[in-house]
């Protein structure tokens, strides 16, 4: 950890992510106003010392909406990273270890990867109806194949290592081989890949919310605040501006974290991941 923090980029990334995550977690205490309660007296207010980031067309405080919106966006992206990590990890492990099913599983993954990810996610989210769970399912399906590919690659490398051969030679069972020898070797690329998926999911969730297939209003997400602000771009550009800055901070931070982890854990991984 110390060695990681000594890398400037990693430290900056951690800082950026920490700011947004802490602000989102503390939304209940930090947010000065109710994020969903309309107040028509303060419509489209310019940022001032009461409403630090201004108000939207329903008179809602933009800062409060961003804090609560970041909560929803972070939760969705985190679950997507975990779910696609577990599903993709399992598929990759099975595919890399049992060569008989490999061809079949990878053909399916190739097929899913052939879709432009966003298009597939939008179609899926639209099919299943607008809700937070739907968005998670849609994004997890769209981003599982990449993780499966990375994991499969890592398993293929690990299984041909001498120490795995040796363990097999002394009679270790499959479960033990995978658990003790193969999985630990795959942990690093998996973690790095899922950091990137986290970042991609933040962007993708914002897109889904922006085009109107995200979690339904009035609960804000970072993308839906931008969508709201779009209609008032002329009179009140600040509404769309600040949630985008929050997204950019978060995604840039996660990308820096991913790069830092990748370089620190194994420089050779540059080829496998991403």
């Amino acid at each position: 950890m110390k060695a990681l923090l000594a890398r400037r980029n990693f430290a900056i990334g951690l800082g950026l992510v920490a700011i947004v995550v802490l602000a989102a977690l503390g939304a209940d205490w930090l947010a000065p106003f109710d994020p969903v309660k309309n107040n028509y007296r303060n419509r489209l207010g310019v940022p001032d010392d009461v409403f630090l980031l201004g108000t939207d067309r329903y008179g809602r405080d933009v800062l409060s909406r961003i804090l609560f919106g970041a909560q929803v966006s972070l939760r969705i992206a985190l679950v997507v990273a975990v779910v696609s990590g577990l599903a993709g990890g399992l598929i990759g492990l099975v595919s890399g270890w049992w060569r008989g099913v490999d061809v079949w599983l990878m053909r399916v993954m190739d097929g899913l990867m052939a879709f432009p990810g966003l298009l597939l996610a939008i179609a899926l989210a639209a099919t299943l109806g607008p809700s937070e769970v739907t968005v998670v399912i849609a994004l997890a399906i769209a981003y599982t194949p990449r993780t499966a590919r990375v994991m499969r690659g890592a398993v293929l490398v690990a299984r041909s290592q001498d120490y795995v051969e040796a363990a097999r030679a002394v009679g270790a069972r499959t479960v033990r081989l995978l658990h003790r020898h193969v999985l630990p070797a795959c942990a690093a690329p998996w973690v790095v890949q899922q950091t990137y998926v986290f970042a991609i999911a933040i962007l993708a969730e914002a897109v889904l919310s922006f085009v109107g297939v995200g979690p339904p209003p009035p609960r804000p997400t970072l993308g839906s605040i931008i969508a709201d602000g779009r209609d008032n771009m002329v009179e009140a550009p600040w509404i769309a501006l600040s949630p985008g800055v929050a997204i950019a901070m978060l995604v840039l931070g996660l990308n820096l974290l991913g790069d830092g982890l990748r370089d620190a854990l194994d420089p050779r991984m540059r080829r496998v991941v991403r």
Binding site: R107, V108, D110, G111, L112, A114, F115, P116, G117, L118, L119, L120, I122, A123, L124, A126, T127, L128, G129, A199, L203, A206, V207, F210, V211, G212, V213, G223, I226, G229, R230, M233, V234, P237, A240, L241, P243, G244, I247, A248, V251, L252, N255, L256, D259, R270
Partner: protein
């Protein structure tokens, strides 16, 4: 050569099979009754029945699937529920907008990204490298649709230089087309620039340490020439790969960018269909866009052979 092309084409078959299965399967996943949903809350039972029969929803899924595949193989993707147009016609009519947007964006991204990546590699670990790579990572982290909104605000609203949206056919007025496409393509290009610059740098660094580069230097070529001619030539395969992937990402990105700039492309068609539950359009749009993406990647595979003679010999 011909054998390789055939092998690549055959490899695309299972991919297209999965893609079409998913596209068809979407309608099976819809919770509730599609016909009722399309007809709307005020429709009579007879109207709902009529739509059900029109869409073939009164038949069992397996029959529908066979019919759908039969149609697809004949180039018939069904009719739009709302547009009074066949799906193929509706998509093909809007495809040039989306493709030209994607193409212009990728061209901009390559024209800036490749030289930037080469520069970064030539000055590795010094300030030009850190600056370009920092910018690349930053661009990669911005939501493109948000960037589009900011561009509209700056160039469209504040400065009034460019139209805030809409589309002019290049046949009618090339300058008008350019003015309409400049901002959306720019916003889309920025997100593609990062991956291209990063990949160029990585590939160029590897190539730069090879023997033939040392030879090029030894015969007295200047550094810019070494990079522009020899390092670039050696790095083209990974660069082409990342541009090919970028094509798919841009297609997805164009979807949203079209929405932001009110461009009449496939993205607006599909998202409009999503919001109004026009299933044939959603299926057809998904299928056709993905087919194009697969075809482009096939093309990229074949470009490798042209770019790298060594691969031709292996083939």
């Amino acid at each position: 050569m011909l054998r390789l092309i055939i092998v690549r084409l055959l490899a695309a078959v299972p991919v297209l099979l999965v893609v079409s299965l998913v596209s068809f399967g979407l309608t099976l996943l819809v919770p509730g009754d599609i016909a009722t949903e399309i007809a709307g809350p005020t429709a009579s039972t007879a109207d709902v029945e009529r739509i059900r029969v029109e869409l073939g929803l009164d038949k069992p899924p397996l029959v529908r699937m066979v019919q759908w595949y039969g149609g697809v193989l004949h180039g018939d993707l069904g009719r739009s529920v709302l547009l009074n147009q066949s799906v193929g016609e509706a998509v093909l009519q809007r495809l040039p907008v989306t493709l030209s947007l994607t193409f212009v964006a990728l061209t901009i991204a390559s024209l800036i990204g490749i030289p930037a990546g080469l520069l970064a590699a030539a000055k590795a670990r010094r300030w030009p490298d850190q600056l370009t790579m920092g910018t690349a990572l930053f661009g990669l982290s911005l939501p493109d649709f948000w960037l589009g909104l900011l561009l509209i605000w700056l160039f469209g609203v504040k400065l009034g230089w460019l139209p805030t949206g809409g589309f002019v056919d290049p046949g009618t007025s090339f300058v008008g087309w350019l003015r309409c496409i400049a901002m959306p393509a720019g916003a889309l290009a920025l997100t593609q620039l990062g991956p291209i610059a990063r990949m160029t740098r990585a590939a160029a660094l590897e190539v730069a340490s090879s023997d033939y580069i040392r030879t090029a230097r030894a015969k007295g070529l200047t550094e810019p020439r070494v990079y522009a001619r020899h390092v670039l030539a050696g790095s083209l395969v990974p660069i082409l790969t990342v541009i090919g992937i970028g094509f798919g990402l841009s297609l997805g990105g164009a979807l949203v960018i079209e929405q932001v700039f009110s461009l009449p492309g496939v993205g607006r068609l599909v998202i409009g269909a999503v919001l109004r539950r026009d299933w044939p359009i959603i299926q057809g749009g998904l299928l056709l866009t993905t087919f194009i993406f697969v075809a482009v990647n096939l093309l990229v595979d074949l470009l490798y052979l042209w770019v790298d003679p060594r691969m031709r010999e292996e083939a």
